[in-house]
């Protein structure tokens, strides 16, 4: 005896229909996606969970570490001898430069004071080990074993013995995430070492980088070395970044397509140096001068006093 509009009670209660649940969870996921991608509001949640999961992550990393150690243990003695020989030769080669560096720095300091230029600030570095590449296949990030407890801050530049690797983007208490130069979201202001031409180098994915927004007839050659220009206030000027490998000057486009390969071992693992932050650059000049009609705050106060 069912009244019209009243469904009979179900035998087994199973909650909402699958399609309803699907729509609910999909919309929840989409809200999360937008909140994270557009507004970056979920960093605190990630920080909390990642800190709690840190011991677990170290434990799961152990088999990989052990495999690497075992491989190194099995490396042949001849390789080690050859490595030693190479390193000794390189050390002799650079000793000359190292010995003269102190002298040159002193001289540079004196000359700069003579020229009344702002002294280059000394920057301290922290040696960090690259633990592993992040599992996310869509971006190029590595995890290093130093975090906010060791004084790492977001925005610090990371270099190895040849050149720039990337930049710290996310800091956890004991680890931090480094966005590599070859990631598509990473850009770095550079200058061509040969002639000082300034440009912006952006990651192009698949281990390469692209020199963007340079005119088709720009003065760039294959083999040019790009160094940081230091205009951004993040990277110190003069750090080697990349080498130009291919230039495609198609006159139908207004910009040349310039492909570069990173100089440092961006995709390799090992030790890296995290450079401390630079002090802030002077504020940029304002774009438009204020119109005289609008009285500034200071003027208004003066009138009141009068």
């Amino acid at each position: 005896m069912s009244v019209v509009g009243h469904a009979p009670p179900p035998f087994f209660k199973r909650g909402p229909a699958p399609l309803v649940r699907l729509v609910f969870f999909v919309s929840l996921s989409l809200v999360l996606l937008v909140a994270d991608l557009r507004f970056h509001t979920l960093e605190w949640a990630r920080l909390a969970v990642a800190t709690a999961a840190w011991p677990l992550q170290r434990v799961t990393g152990m088999p990989i570490d052990a495999a690497g150690d075992f491989g190194a243990y099995l490396s042949r003695q001849s390789t080690l001898l050859k490595d030693n020989e190479d390193l000794r030769r390189r050390q002799l080669g650079t000793a000359n430069l190292l010995l003269r560096q102190d002298h040159l720095e002193q001289e540079n300091k004196r000359l700069r004071t003579l020229l009344d230029m702002r002294e280059r600030q000394p920057v301290e570095g922290r040696i960090a080990e690259i633990l592993y590449a992040a599992r996310d296949p869509f971006s190029r990030r590595v995890i290093i074993d130093k975090g906010s407890q060791h004084g790492i801050a977001p925005g610090n530049a990371v270099v190895d013995d040849i050149g720039v690797i990337g930049q710290v983007v996310r800091v956890f208490p004991l680890t931090s995430e480094v966005l590599l130069l070859t990631d598509k979201e990473q850009a770095i202001p550079v200058a061509v070492q040969r002639n000082g031409l300034r440009a912006v180098l952006a990651g192009a994915g698949s281990g390469m980088m692209e020199l963007r927004f340079l005119a088709a007839n720009a003065e760039v050659q294959v083999g040019d070395v790009l160094v940081t220009s230091g205009l951004d206030g993040v990277y110190l000027p003069g750090l080697p970044v990349a080498k130009v490998t291919k230039i495609d000057r198609d006159s139908s486009y207004s910009f040349a397509r310039i492909i570069c390969a990173p100089l440092a071992g961006v995709e390799r693992h090992g030790l890296a140096l995290v450079l401390g932050g630079r002090s802030a650059l002077p504020p940029q000049p304002e774009d438009a001068p204020q119109t005289p009609d609008q009285p500034t705050r200071g003027k208004r106060v003066k009138k009141k006093v009068r």
Partner: protein, 173 residues
């Protein structure tokens, strides 16, 4: 329950703590940092699809959502990327469970392959819309590895439910 609907073996009822344990173990296996090495299966997706097919009343979209959030944090990817993909995977796995379980294991694996590939495709589309780079065709290899593991993982996860085959002659019924 039977291992497949056409099988004549009757399984013991599944224990809830065993389902939770296997899902947590899969999560731990996913945390092992293999980097960009191709062909490592997504263990969580595989185990989730297995339980959604075999126990659609116990494991479903809510579990997929929670595991997805955990993976998003562990992977340092965008929040909601794995959650969305796992929810869709759980929906289709649970919806197809009555059909899939009629087939022998090899053909079950062929049903699981498009589900896993579709899950990867959802992740790819969400990230490409956000402007990420294409990870390469080899990335899809992980679904194929997971499909090849369907046979062993079925026996592994159903082991606690199998009962001995020898008959007790003194049993009254």
């Amino acid at each position: 329950m039977q291992p497949t609907h056409s099988s004549r073996r009757i399984l013991l009822p599944v224990r809830n703590w065993f389902i939770v344990l296997t899902l947590v173990l899969a999560l731990v296996l996913n945390l092992v940092p293999f980097g960009r090495f191709p062909g490592i299966p997504d263990w969580v997706a595989l185990v989730l699809a297995f339980w959604c097919i075999h126990q659609p009343l116990k494991v479903g979209m809510a579990a997929g959502f929670m595991l997805g959030l955990a993976m998003d944090v562990a992977d340092a990817s965008v929040m909601g990327q794995h959650a969305l993909a796992y929810v869709l995977l759980a929906y289709f796995a649970a919806g197809w469970s009555r059909r899939v379980l009629w087939f022998p294991l090899a053909q079950q694996a062929l049903h699981v392959l498009p589900m896993l590939l579709g899950m990867q495709l959802v992740m790819l589309v969400t990230r490409m819309i956000a402007g990420a780079e294409f990870p390469g065709v080899l990335w899809f290899l992980s679904s194929i590895t997971a499909t090849l593991l369907w046979h062993p993982i079925t026996y592994l996860l159903l082991t606690p439910q199998f009962q001995p085959e020898d008959k007790d002659v003194h049993r009254p019924i």
